[in-house]
Symmetry: C2
Subunit: 479 residues, 2 copies
């Protein structure tokens, strides 16, 4: 039993040091490895498989809504990046610059894309002529570079994987509807696939994307009650189109500017999954994206019939569309339990001689440790049901964490006290001025997470300046 | 009818100027667009969809053979690239170098990966300890940069998409078997999915991958009889492992070096598809990767029942797992025929009032223009059969082109004459010396394509130097 103890001991207790617990889980569950390239991480097979499952879920939703995948150049000449003033100001400081090709100095330096608005716009300025060419509903799966000073697995890398959707529409209304629709795709992914409840809202002027008219966001609460911005969807109006001279001939034969959106979700969300659901035994993966949904562990596997029956279970579950594996290694069952708990496998199925006698197996939920007896003849029916129960259990637990850590306040001091003693999200009224937002950061240590779509009337004065309030805002400490 | 004429006229006749025909097809079929970034291309939705279908086919084969996807950093510090001497010599001259992060000069410049052997090795040197950690069977889907002087759609870009497989094995035998197995995966893809016959063989010393002990290749013949290297698989022995100090403890408790392979296939293959199968009406896509396998064109679509029946056909074919679309636009049927011929859709289905009366539709093969009548009740049965027939027809045509343009020669002058008058592949005996290979290039204008696995004894002397021959070689002019 020394082994399994060792396995578990190797991760820091989350109540002792959440940050350390987090990096321990990333490494011990073999999601990620540090690389010799400073600030860059390696996505190992288990971590990448989670991303692939997220990709499959998102890609299907994108395509069902008529989007098409494309691929744009990885490099952006400086002059192209500079075409939209706010955009270059936001991104240039964190660009990695290519200045040499082979042994020759480039005439113009190029950055490795931090995001690709400028490339899509440049392309559209050449291929869009008529209202018949609209809408353009594009998406790109790729990696991007942002030259961060400090890095952290999944949450902040100099390189990360993401998808960036870019769409161009004849009218502002259509583009706004797209912005909203795609935020809803992200919210659906989070809630119904990743079991992560979200707050939907709009970013403040200060927090919006560089070059956007407005940015929609979904904000999640991690187990330590800090916030994670999990997906954003931007409405650009015709700002980029004007900067890049994109026009089209409308049905009345007039030359007009189209309207644009972009939206992105990255491997950062995997950090969100870990910090929302994980516990002191390691990772807890939402069943709908878990690379292994069920691990079958034979008990007393050298006894007659055990391995055979375990293999049978695997084949039957595979045939039922479940991502399933069995572990027939020589490690002890206890060691295996700890191993697959660390890896967050949602359901463990144990089968031993006694179970076989009784025509049953034992299913153990990763999320709460509950043990259930499953009749072998009901396997294909019960296992998918149990995976759904685990999903709902995880969602419920995360939602409860968010609800019990969402507070209201009517003074800055109150916000500060709540954040320092309880953490979480604090809702207050706000006048809409960036100065008050900065003051809140300064005095209470929180940033605005979003102006939620679901507004409440908590009063009529701004919590900072006492001037008339415009909206209710969520504040919090963010990753 | 002016429109469809225009559509067809816009591409150059392939017999007049094959290179121009090729770029015309790439653009007119909307596969690719030139970008403002010199030497970089944009993969448009239709071109990217072909790549996605190739990815799906390959990824399934990789995973079935136990490979796992991972993601390594995009940047390689110069010192890491330099660790294997042959490798850096081969790749450094065509690297793009990042020298600045944000506004700061980097201490060490980093290249955007031209290939990732060095990163995989660096990672393995940290995580591989015991024979239990082997084999590592990894694959990565990504884009790479190579700073080419001249570029051409799909065939030569400064950036291209590819997969690079990297594997590490306990024994040389196992690694050699992997090298062979993965070449066979590429050959299977080409022949059974892309309808492109291949010659399998090993590259000469001169043509092998920088750092490899040997390189296996599949070579295809384009319609103009030039060669295209379509996929390569490299055996590294323990060269990289030694350079990167990768060792493991074997079952006898000895520290030993593992053996390594890598293998890659890129978007270049799409250029191969175009040049193998295309004709003067545009693209001809192999049915198994065509984004649209069947296009349904209603004839006299405003007549009662036509659109409804056309929609019905689409729904039935979709339900049967066919990638199908209908075109209900106001363009004339003739315009639509030309449009989808340009896009290479393998099968066109026409349905008009007369067809409906007779409970039938008309199927037209893209590869040879053959028209067939299909009873509506047999639709789900016949269409997949017809797609298979098209695949076989395309493969047979390409194979015939290769066979009728493969010659044997016993003097350099003969090789030269064949290449200049007929083109194609020329088989000769060869002594194995690089000098004779260079002489052949100099005097006959051909490079060695490969030493085929299927050897023939054409004589006992080298075609260049008359010394004893070691092997038979394929020569040709390559893209």
């Amino acid at each position: 039993m020394a082994n399994e103890k060792k396995q578990v001991e190797q991760i820091t207790d989350m109540e002792v040091d959440f940050a350390k617990w987090y990096t321990d889980v990333c490494k011990k569950a073999e999601l990620i490895e540090y690389s010799s390239v400073k600030g860059f991480f390696i996505l190992r097979p288990y971590g990448y498989a989670i991303w692939e499952n997220i990709q499959t879920e998102l890609d299907r939703r994108f395509k069902e809504a008529g989007h098409e995948n494309v691929y744009m150049p990885m490099l952006i000449p400086e002059s192209l990046l500079q075409k939209e003033a706010d955009h270059v100001e936001g991104f240039a400081p964190e660009c990695a610059w290519v200045t040499m090709g082979g042994s020759e100095e480039l005439e113009e330096k190029m950055c490795v894309r931090p995001t690709s608005e400028t490339l899509f716009c440049d392309h559209w300025s050449k291929v869009v002529q008529s209202w018949r060419d609209l809408p353009k509903l594009y998406n790109q799966w790729c990696s991007v570079l942002r030259w961060e000073k400090t890095t952290r697995p999944f949450l902040r890398h100099r390189e990360f994987l993401w998808q960036e959707g870019h769409t161009l529409h004849a009218t502002a209304e259509e583009a706004m509807a797209e912005t909203e629709q795609q935020l809803e795709v992200y919210a659906d992914l989070c809630e119904n696939v990743l079991a992560m409840p979200v707050v939907r809202g709009v970013k403040t002027e200060k927090e919006k994307f560089a070059g956007a008219e407005y940015t929609y966001t979904i904000e999640c609460m991690m187990h330590d009650t800090k916030a994670l911005q999990s997906g954003t969807s931007h409405y650009f109006g015709d700002g980029f189109a004007r900067a890049f001279n994109i026009t089209y001939t409308d049905k009345n034969n007039q030359q007009v500017c189209p309207h644009q959106t972009s939206w992105g979700l990255s491997t950062r969300i995997i950090g969100g999954i870990i910090m929302t659901h994980g516990d002191n035994n390691g990772l807890v993966l939402p069943p709908r994206i878990a690379p292994i949904q069920v691990i079958v562990i034979p008990i007393a596997q050298h006894k007659a019939g055990v391995s055979e029956r375990a293999r049978e279970l695997v084949e039957r579950l595979k045939a039922a569309g479940i991502r399933v594996k069995a572990d027939f290694s020589d490690n002890s069952p206890g060691w295996k339990f700890a191993e697959y708990e660390m890896k967050g496998v949602p359901l463990r199925i144990e089968i031993g001689p006694r179970d076989i006698e009784n025509n049953q197996c034992v299913a153990v939920r990763r999320d709460n440790g509950e043990k259930l007896t499953v009749a072998l003849e009901e396997l294909e029916e019960r296992v998918p049901q149990l995976l759904d129960v685990v999903h709902k259990g995880m969602f419920g637990k995360a939602k409860k964490n968010m609800e019990t850590h969402t507070f209201t306040a009517s003074t800055v001091e109150e916000v500060k006290e709540i954040i320092e003693t309880k953490g979480g999200f604090v809702k207050t009224m706000w006048c809409g001025d960036t100065e008050c937002e900065l003051a809140m950061k300064e005095r209470a240590g929180v940033s605005s997470r979003c102006i939620p779509f679901e507004q409440e009337n908590l009063g009529d004065k701004c919590v900072v300046c006492d001037k008339p309030a415009k909206t209710m805002v969520y504040w919090g400490v963010a990753y």
